[in-house]
Amino acid sequence: MSNDGHDCLDAMSSEFIAEIKDDLASLEPALLAMEKKGAGTDDDLINHAFRSIHSIKGGAGFINFKELSSLSHAMENVLMRVREKTLVITSDIADALLTGFDKMKLMVERIGKGEACDYEKEKIALQNILNPDKKALGSLASTTQFPSVHKDSDYLPAEAYQVLKPLGTSTIFQGHEFLVDKKRLDHALAGQKFIYAVYVRFETDLRARNKGEDAIVDDIQSIGDILFSDLEESRGQEEREGFFCVISTILDLPLLSQVLEIGKTQMTLVDRQFADYETLVKGVSSRVAKDKPAPEPVEPVPAEPDEDSAQGASESILSASSTAQTLRINVDLISRLMNRAGELVLARNQLRPFLAENAKENSLASGIMQNLDMVTTDIQEAIMQMRMQPVIDLMGKYKRVVRDIARRISKKVDFILEGGDVEVDRTVLEKLANPLTHLIRNCIDHGIESPKERVGRSKPETGTIRIKTSHQGGQVHITISDDGAGIDPQLILSKAFEKGLVTEDQVDKMTQKEKIALIFLPGFTTSEEITDISGRGVGMDVVKTNIESLRGRIEIDTVKGEGTRVHLIIPLTLAIVPSLIVSTGAFKFAIPQVSIKEILYLEKGTVQNQMENIAGSEVLRLRGRIFPVIRLRTLLGIRTYIEATGTGEKEEEKRKALADRRQDAVGQDAIEDSKKRMQKKDRRRHHWDTTYVIVLKLGENLFGLCVDALYDIEEVVVEPLSEYIRHLKCFAGTTLLGNGDVITVLDIQGIAAFSSLKFDSIKTAEEKRNEAKEKEAKAKGEKRNLIIFCSGKNEYFALELKNISRLESLNPGDIHYTGHLKYVEYKGHAVLLFSMDEFLPVNEFELTTDEIFAVFPKHISSRVGIIASAIIDTIETDQLIDRDDTCPEPVLGKLFMDGRMVQVLDPDKFAEMIEEKLMMTKGAGASRENPHS
């Protein structure tokens, strides 16, 4: 049975190469796993590796790729011994297999270039493993007799046999014809049976499934008849990888594939069938034929016998060779499609306002718009999905990297992958390859200690590197952690200092995290010697740049002696970014939606109340959390113009936000300004009166960005900044809005870096504050509202507002004296007045001023007022009251407010003392009255 279909095979070779590449990709992890498990390797794994190498060999044979075929044969031999359990994979054997694998990969890469590959070394290494006994394939014993007919038709009466040609385009049957007994064929056809040509592969279909040849014959005979088989002929022919047979059955192709456990591509109907079949179901076949006028020119990827083979016979006949659900497509084509889809989104956005306008007059317009929206979104999503690739495609490769590096520097490392099925845009995945390689190298070289050291530190001898990938809110989180030595911030610091990357001044202010972040500086390395793995000082800064170019972030957590965790946060895709359009002044900006946590609208008045100043930055307090706030206006230096009423002339806004005034003008300006405002002549709305605060996520930190107005969320296609302005940190790129405006897309990370937000110091300051507050809260509870009043010239007292019933202003002339007692008239009653000097050793109260005040404490049995020379202020304070035992009663403690010392009165004690005084005056009155009577 010669292969005379080579012309067709040439056309198919790219398909075969693609398949070989797939097989190679699945071979490597299997080999690595086998090495790791050693003698304990389970059969599944071995069989998997075996199948991979075998189909590579098979594929290579089909495209006449002798080098690959020969090398894969050598590898197959080794694997066969492993499978027979006569060989246990050691690291040396794994080395040989893996180098063989590498060479095969190289061969496949070079295939189109006509370069020859020397593979003798690898082949010999593989053969040496097996030493003298190099057993070949095909030694399976079988005594089953096949109804076999030789093709040699010379000896046979022509009318007794019929030549059958397989249908379809499958390369497996290319150039093959089968001679079958005419009577049996006619009988089968008369019974309306399907006649299939089937190719049974010894390895994949039988041995890999632990089936013998007799088992498959049994199976076939249970479901139908064998009309032809060349199993006998294939015996003893080493290069044969399978045998052909022709069978008749009532089963549809998907079911046949299921029952025999043979791929659908390895079976096809034969031509005689087609003629009869067509007449049998002409209605159906003509219907199908209309849909599929010609066989698909593209050879589908061989599909495993699939579960949902629920299709009728009618379909199976024509789709016998095109049952695949996957199709290989050139990456460039997808990229082009992707770009076009991006433009389509833009065009849709541009079209939207026109259609929206028309919608009022023409009801069709809104329908069209909806339809367009739906289709565009659908296309976009579909293309996105096309570009998505599971991260395992990339991560899987690191198993090998880890193994090789660890072996080279004699360390023991386990590599664990989690979340390999998370899908990421392939462009993102491609750009992740380099930084991840760097990080993993660092883990092994710097992180994981040598086995000896590890044992010394009572850690397991084998270190662990773990890569975990997960989806979180439109972003991909990748964590690379090791249980190695960790990073010593002090070491980092001294190295950075040595290399002149930081100054002493800077060092003092650095937080722990910032110190660790020094390793991201260009030129930083802690390695004394340059190894071929790392230590060239081009590592981490390149990693950081790479990650940032993906609009991602990198964070490092490390505990000295326990390990390091590198956290990468990366967008799912780079192409289309849903963004919130905002404006400040006359300018619009886009903010990527993934960075937005929430949006706050601060109304007039609340702005001032909710903004605080901590550690030199403006901060916003929100639900107990506190985070820095940046004003886009100030950040970008945007000026505001105010249209003067009437003239329409624009005048530059010169006023400053209240917080500005607070900050830089504690003195006169602020007061003047506020006075002007108090006059309320200026009724222009100030931009700072109300504001939107976009709360943005930056790693674990939050910060607010104040903008003037919000618009829609649009899906924007981000174009890189033009070269001249690329150095600007605050912008990630530009985009075209629906109305044709070009706006910039804000780079959240850049903005945070540009404004040098001090998250850590704010956090520390806040923590301190909270601590103090907690302390105080423990000491005396929550906030107090105090009325501060003055007795005499400069002695200040405070009483809590809740203990005061009212305040009165009095004319000293209104005071009536009875002896040393002072009274005023209030609503027809005489009210007794005391001054503070009657309770405390303070200066005597002198009624010298024009106006005096009376403070009326609550909870006193009769009306009593305390005279004050002035009411200074009512304040809300959470300040800690400085208690000390030297304070005379009823003073609770002292407070310092605006340079004054205020004595805070204990309301209960004070009330008690007033009552005592009242008793005394009553007593005095009584004793005075008595002599009269």
């Binding site: 309306q192 009532i250 089963l251 079911l255 159906v284 083979s309 009728g312 016979a313």
Partner: protein
Amino acid sequence: MKILIVDDKASIRATMKIILVHLGLSDITEAVDGEDAWYKINDEAEKGREHMFELIVSDMEMPGMTGLELLRAVRTSPEVGKTPFIMATTVTARQIILETMRLGIQAYIIKPFDAHTVELKLKQAGIL
């Protein structure tokens, strides 16, 4: 031709019935599960040869007696053992298909089926 349709789903029985009637096969009895079918098959057989079903079209997965068990029962019965039997099911498990084939069925129809498929399968089974 006297046909027994066995399926626990009324909708499937109805669909199959419509198709069969459309193909000119109008003498149709329905059974709701394997036991019901087995009872009806024997009931008719007792009445005499001419009353026996000439075709059984059965589902596989049914509560109680499954299609496979029904097939086994039919094939081991001396009276009705040779009745043509068609499976109409979603089951594509290898072992089950093999067993039905060994027991001997005339067609294996995969649900969902359409009129063309049923027509073809009936022709294959030598019914039409």
